[in-house]
C-alpha cells in the first residue's frame, strides 16, 4: 500500500513541476512581462506545495492507521461475559485471522467477526488514504498556482522554504538526543523510586536478581553499582595502558619520522582498525587473547579466570589505538613548521626537538585525544560482554572476571522486556551514569582541543 502511494506522490510532484513551469511561462507571456525569477523556481514552488502536504498525510497515516483501527476493533469487540482477555494476544489473533483466512478454523465467532471488521476497516482506510493524498496534492497545487504571477518572487520564497527544510533536518538530530536524554532521566527516576540512589551509587553489592513475577522465589536483589563502575574503570585503565603509549608513539612516528609515502599507506591502514566491528574484536579477545592471558597468569602463579579484565582491556586498547594515533598525529602536524625549524636551526637534534618543543606544544591536543579515547573505551560494549565476563567483582586484579556498565545494561535487557521492575530499569540508571560521564569527558576534551586550536590558528 505504501509503495504505491509513493509512486502516486512521485507522479504528483513530477506533473506539478511541469505544470508550474508551463503555467508561469504562459502567464508571463499573457501579461507581456518577464517573470521576476526563473521559471524553474515557480515550478519548484508548486512542487513543494504539492509534496509536503502529501508527505504529512502519508506519515500521519503510517503512524496512526494501525493504532486507530485496532482501537475501533477492540472497542467493538463482543466480549463474552466472564472470560478474561489479554488485549495484546487478542489483537495478534485477530490480525492473524484477518491476514490469513486459513487460521480462522476453530476460532470463536467473536474473533472471526472482529477479523472481518478489521479487514474492512483496513480497506476503508486504504481508500481514504489514497483519496486524501490525491485531494491534498491537488489543493496544494491549486493554492500554489494562484501565486504563479510574473511579479511574484518565487526564488525568495523557495529559499525561505529550503531554509525551513534545513532547520527541520538539523533539529531532528537535536530533538532525538533530547528525547533520549529525557527517557533516560524519567526511567531512571522510576528506578530510583524503588532503589535508593545512595544504595545505587555507594553500595558494593550488585545482585539484581529479584523475583520479577508473582510466585517466583528469589533472594531480595541489591543494586550497588560500585563494582560495576570499578570494573569499567579497571578495563578502561588496562585499555589506556595499551593504547596510550602505542597510539602516541605511532603518532610521533607518523608525524615526524615517516616519509610521505609511508604515511599515506599507514594512516589509512590504522584507521581501518577503527572500522572493524567491535564484536569481531570481542571474539578475538575471547578466543585468542583470553586463553593466552589465562596461561600467562598460571605461568606466573596467578589464578586467572577464562575471561578477564586484562584480556578485554588489552583488545579494547588495540581498538582505540587509531583514535589516539590519528588525532594525535593531526595535532602534532598542526604544530607550526616554524617551531621545528627554530629548534633544529639552533642545532637541536630531532629527538630533542620532539621532546622539548613539539610534544609540549601539542600536549593539550594530545590530552584531548586521550579523553576522547577514554570516553570511547567506557562506552564500548561488545568486547567486554564477550571477554570480560559478567560477574560483578569488586577487584583491582586484572586477571579476574569483572563487569562493566555496558555489560550490565545488556544483561538487564536480555530476556525480560517489561520495564516494570528494578532489574530492567537499572539499565536506564546505568545508562544515565554512562551518558553523564562520557558527556563530561567529551566536553572537557573538546574544550581542550579548541583552546589549543585557538592558540595556533
Amino acid at each position: 500500500m505504501f509503495f504505491w502511494s509513493l509512486v502516486l506522490i512521485a507522479v504528483g510532484i513530477f506533473s506539478s513541476f511541469i505544470y508550474g513551469r508551463s503555467r508561469i511561462k504562459l502567464n508571463s507571456k499573457k501579461q507581456g512581462t518577464k517573470s521576476k525569477s526563473l521559471p524553474n523556481y515557480y515550478a519548484q514552488y508548486v512542487l513543494m506545495w504539492c509534496l509536503f502536504p502529501a508527505l504529512i498525510v502519508y506519515f500521519s497515516w503510517a503512524i496512526f492507521q494501525e493504532q486507530i483501527i485496532q482501537n475501533i476493533v477492540i472497542s467493538n469487540f463482543e466480549y463474552i461475559e466472564g472470560a478474561v482477555y489479554n488485549e495484546g494476544l487478542l489483537l495478534a489473533e485477530i490480525r492473524n485471522v484477518a491476514n490469513n483466512p486459513s487460521f480462522a478454523d476453530g476460532k470463536s465467532i467473536e474473533i472471526i467477526n472482529a477479523a472481518s471488521h478489521y479487514s474492512s476497516l483496513r480497506q476503508i482506510s486504504q481508500i481514504s488514504f489514497y483519496t486524501s493524498i490525491i485531494i491534498i496534492m491537488l489543493l496544494g497545487a491549486l493554492y500554489a498556482s494562484q501565486k504563479l504571477k510574473p511579479e511574484f518572487h518565487a526564488q525568495h520564497t523557495i529559499e525561505k522554504y529550503i531554509q525551513y527544510i534545513l532547520i527541520f533536518c538539523s533539529s531532528v538530530a537535536i530533538f532525538t538526543t533530547i528525547g533520549i536524554v529525557f527517557s533516560l532521566i524519567f526511567e531512571s527516576l522510576r528506578f530510583f523510586a524503588e532503589v535508593s540512589i545512595f544504595e545505587f551509587l555507594f553500595s558494593t553489592e550488585w545482585y539484581p536478581f529479584i523475583p520479577i513475577r508473582e510466585g517466583q522465589t528469589a533472594a531480595e536483589g541489591s543494586f550497588g553499582a560500585v563494582p560495576i563502575f570499578a570494573g569499567t574503570f579497571l578495563v578502561m585503565v588496562v585499555a589506556m595502558c595499551v593504547a596510550a603509549p602505542l597510539g602516541l608513539l605511532t603518532a610521533i612516528y607518523l608525524a615526524e619520522y615517516a616519509s610521505q609515502r609511508v604515511r599515506k599507506i599507514v594512516k589509512p591502514l590504522l584507521e581501518i582498525l577503527a572500522g572493524i566491528p567491535t564484536i569481531v574484536y570481542g571474539f578475538f579477545a575471547f578466543v585468542s587473547v583470553a586463553p593466552f592471558v589465562k596461561a600467562f597468569g598460571q605461568s606466573i602463579g596467578i589464578d586467572a579466570s577464562p575471561t578477564s579484565a586484562l584480556a578485554a582491556g588489552m583488545v579494547m586498547g588495540v581498538m582505540i589505538i587509531p583514535f589516539i594515533s590519528s588525532l594525535s598525529d593531526d595535532v602534532i602536524n598542526s604544530v607550526p613548521q616554524s617551531l621545528r625549524e627554530a629548534s633544529l636551526g639552533i642545532g637541536a637534534n630531532k629527538a630533542e626537538t620532539i621532546k622539548k618543543v613539539i610534544l609540549p606544544a601539542a600536549l593539550p591536543g594530545i590530552v584531548g585525544a586521550f579523553l576522547l579515547a577514554i570516553s570511547r573505551a567506557i562506552g564500548e560494549t561488545m568486547i567486554v560482554v564477550v571477554a570480560a565476563g559478567t560477574a560483578p567483582n569488586l577487584t583491582g586484579n586484572p586477571f579476574e572476571n569483572v563487569t562493566t556498565v555496558t555489560v550490565q545494561i545488556v544483561v538487564a535487557l536480555i530476556g525480560d522486556q517489561e520495564f516494570d521492575n528494578p532489574r530492567t530499569l537499572s539499565a536506564f540508571a546505568l545508562g544515565l551514569v554512562l551518558f553523564v560521564i562520557t558527556l563530561f569527558l567529551n566536553i572537557i576534551a573538546l574544550q581542550i582541543v579548541k583552546r589549543y586550536r585557538e592558540r595556533y590558528e
Partner: protein, 253 residues
C-alpha cells in the same frame, strides 16, 4: 682567501625535477653583512637554507655542489648537521618563539648543547644574549612570561637572542623584518649593525633600502642564478649588469 668564512662553489638545488638554483658560487667574508636580494622566487632563501642544511627538512629537495664553512665541506653525507647548525644561527621570516617563557626560549639552545654547568651560568648566558639582542631592558622584569606575549618586533629580537645564545659564528636571517612595522625594523637594523662586529651575517631581504643600509656586500639573484655580487655601494650606484640595474631602479621585481 684567508678571511673567507663561507665559500660556495657550483651549488645546484632541485625541488623534485624543478631546478631552483643554477651553479651558485659565492665567497662570504668574515664579520661582514652580506645581503641577498632579488625578486620573489629567485632562490635567495633557498641558498640561505643550504648553508645550515635547513633544506634537509624538505623531502624532495636535492642539493649538489660544494659549500665550505671554515674550509670544511658541508654538502656531504658525513657532515655533522647538528654541530653545523649550532655554529650557524638562523632567524626566520616570521618570529617563531617557542610557546615557553622568555627565559626558556633563550635557555633552550645552551641547555641542549650542554654549554652550561650551573644555573647561574645559564642565567648569565640568557641575560647576556638578551642584552646583545637589545631586549633585556624591556623584558628583565618578566622573564617568566611566555615568549609569545611579546610584540612582533620584540619576538624577533627574542629569536635573535635565542640564536646567539649558543654562541654561533654565523647568523642567517631570512627576511627578518618582513613581518614588522618600520620602527621595529629600524631597531633590528641597528642591532644587525652592532652584531656585525662579532658575527658573520647573511641577510635575505626584499627591501633594497634595507640591503643598502645594513650590508657591506650585496648579491643579486634572478631566476635561480647569481647575477652579480659586489660591494653594496657599487651594486646600488654602479652595477655592472643591466638586470641588476633594472631591478634596483625598480623596473621589475
Amino acid at each position: 682567501m684567508s678571511n673567507s668564512k663561507i665559500l660556495a662553489n657550483g651549488v645546484d638545488v632541485y625541488y623534485g625535477s624543478k631546478q631552483a638554483l643554477f651553479g651558485i658560487s659565492m665567497d662570504i667574508k668574515e664579520k661582514e653583512v652580506t645581503a641577498l636580494i632579488g625578486p620573489s622566487g629567485c632562490g635567495k632563501s633557498t641558498f640561505l637554507r643550504c648553508i645550515n642544511r635547513m633544506n634537509d627538512l624538505i623531502e624532495i629537495c636535492k642539493v649538489s655542489g660544494s659549500i665550505k664553512v671554515d674550509n670544511e665541506e658541508i654538502i656531504s653525507e658525513k657532515t655533522d648537521v647538528v654541530s653545523l647548525r649550532s655554529k650557524i644561527g638562523m632567524v626566520f621570516q616570521k618570529p617563531n618563539p617557542f610557546p615557553k617563557s622568555i627565559f626558556d626560549n633563550v635557555a633552550y639552545g645552551p641547555t641542549i648543547h650542554g654549554l652550561v654547568d650551573s644555573k647561574n651560568d645559564l642565567e648569565e648566558i640568557v641575560h647576556s644574549s638578551l642584552k646583545k639582542a637589545g631586549l633585556f631592558d624591556e623584558v628583565k622584569d618578566r622573564l617568566n612570561e611566555p615568549g609569545t606575549s611579546l610584540s612582533g618586533g620584540q619576538q624577533q629580537r627574542l629569536c635573535i637572542a635565542r640564536a646567539i645564545a649558543v654562541n654561533p659564528e654565523i647568523i642567517l636571517m631570512d627576511e627578518p623584518c618582513s613581518a614588522l612595522d618600520p620602527i621595529a625594523t629600524a631597531i633590528i637594523e641597528e642591532l644587525i649593525d652592532e652584531l656585525r662586529l662579532n658575527y658573520t651575517i647573511i641577510i635575505v631581504t626584499h627591501s633594497m633600502q634595507q640591503a643598502a643600509r645594513v650590508s657591506q656586500k650585496t648579491c643579486f639573484f634572478h631566476l635561480g642564478e647569481l647575477i652579480e655580487t659586489g660591494e653594496t655601494n657599487k651594486i646600488f650606484t654602479n652595477p655592472d649588469n643591466t638586470k641588476t640595474q633594472d631591478y634596483i631602479t625598480g623596473r621589475f621585481g
